[in-house]
Symmetry: D2
Subunit: 154 residues, 4 copies
Amino acid sequence: MTTAVQQKILQQVADIFDNHVPFHNLLGLDIKRYDINGVEVVINMKPELIGNIHHNILHGGVTATLLDVVGGLTVFAGLVASKDDWKIEELQQRLTTLGTIDMRIDYLRPGRGEVFTGTGSVIRSGNRVSVCRMELHNEQGTHIAFGTGTYMVG
Amino acid sequence: MTTAVQQKILQQVADIFDNHVPFHNLLGLDIKRYDINGVEVVINMKPELIGNIHHNILHGGVTATLLDVVGGLTVFAGLVASKDDWKIEELQQRLTTLGTIDMRIDYLRPGRGEVFTGTGSVIRSGNRVSVCRMELHNEQGTHIAFGTGTYMVG
Amino acid sequence: MTTAVQQKILQQVADIFDNHVPFHNLLGLDIKRYDINGVEVVINMKPELIGNIHHNILHGGVTATLLDVVGGLTVFAGLVASKDDWKIEELQQRLTTLGTIDMRIDYLRPGRGEVFTGTGSVIRSGNRVSVCRMELHNEQGTHIAFGTGTYMVG
Amino acid sequence: MTTAVQQKILQQVADIFDNHVPFHNLLGLDIKRYDINGVEVVINMKPELIGNIHHNILHGGVTATLLDVVGGLTVFAGLVASKDDWKIEELQQRLTTLGTIDMRIDYLRPGRGEVFTGTGSVIRSGNRVSVCRMELHNEQGTHIAFGTGTYMVG
């Protein structure tokens, strides 16, 4: 079960990431789902995101961006889920310190496709630092990239 | 000394990366210098690249993109430099297989600034695979991020 | 189905890694299983492998060693599996160039336990370079570490 | 200038790492220097550390171990250096939570040599998390490996 405070902060964060981060708007990044169990972030292919014009392949920087956003949102959802009695102010405070410490990206296959979906899961969960693994697939289920990111969460 | 073929391929690559990669145009990515000794890639801050509106900080995905581009260009320059008697067709062929296998980014400080410059150096050089370290600084010399990337070069 | 050549080379490799690598003997590293589908490598806890005497925890360097060995063996099994008509000499030749290019280790939990088992799976498979993800668990199924490694396979 | 408390804790840590970590004794790991500016850790080649008997090359797991130890000691020295008025008990407490979160190793050249020396420098310094870059050279100055590690320091 999700508490009202948990639900509220996740909605606020989804709204910020969806509508108020200029670079997400530039890419057309879209938070499809964001709840206590994780996140689904989508980018639709468009000509401006292409890195290789001969093969119409997504630029690796878009992949990196999507994976990083997924990682940050996933570890934050994990933090929100870790306690039932958060005050909303505490979580808003935590959000200001959320940041990527390091990230590894493994490019598995060329980024071909129409819709790219990123998902993640927390592999190490802490009060200060969490580590997340992320995946990027296209609309046909082709696995395009893996990510592993270490995030400051407090 | 740089041979005519080396000079020509590096100019072709700089032209492609500067003018014909849609995602580079979207970001305003600019190849300031590209020769046999390496590359200098610049992005000027603009509102669309912001990741954190409260603090006007560059999105981490822009940092990742810049570092990845620097890495690819640096290892390719290293390949070009590794032989004096390349045929231009061989190098053009190699360019089609140039790709990032994996990359680690270390975010050191918030991406504040007006002009972000990426540079790199090859740490492992091979005929098939090369590894590069990359750095991102702002116009005041503040060190914002490190990268380490493994690239397919043939 | 596994061909006779595939079976033979995997046995040879398992024998080398099990019996003829001095550092594996020093650690007591044991190849429990090695076939075309992958590998299971085990290290039994012993006092010499401890990194933290107050808590009797496995040294992180032992974890790194185990994950690296698992990664190398896993990508080599993948290479062996990729063709039915290898000649044994070709695979023996490939073995001489097998090597780790880079590796990331994520330490998830302290290395407590009696028996540590490493397993892996190939995430990017190539004729020259393969990428593998590795895991380390103790005898109770506690997940202690993840690895991601990029290997030269030819 | 180094305070008496700083000097004392660094000596204590060097003594523990040099003499009381069983796995360090097994490898013959030796802390040559440890002060507020960093660390120099040495391993002498011996037959038990070999990974490749045909070429007498150091096992990659020994390299990983050495780099990880260097990283931990370097970030701890950075923490010690960050304040002049530490109490020894605070630093001893911090030592108990010192741990590797993640590490990347780049293997640059085969580990040939007689004496392997690891050094490091902090690239991101924090009260909770620090990031370090490490290097391994042999006695001839050949650069064998790079490391990048993220450590919990509090």
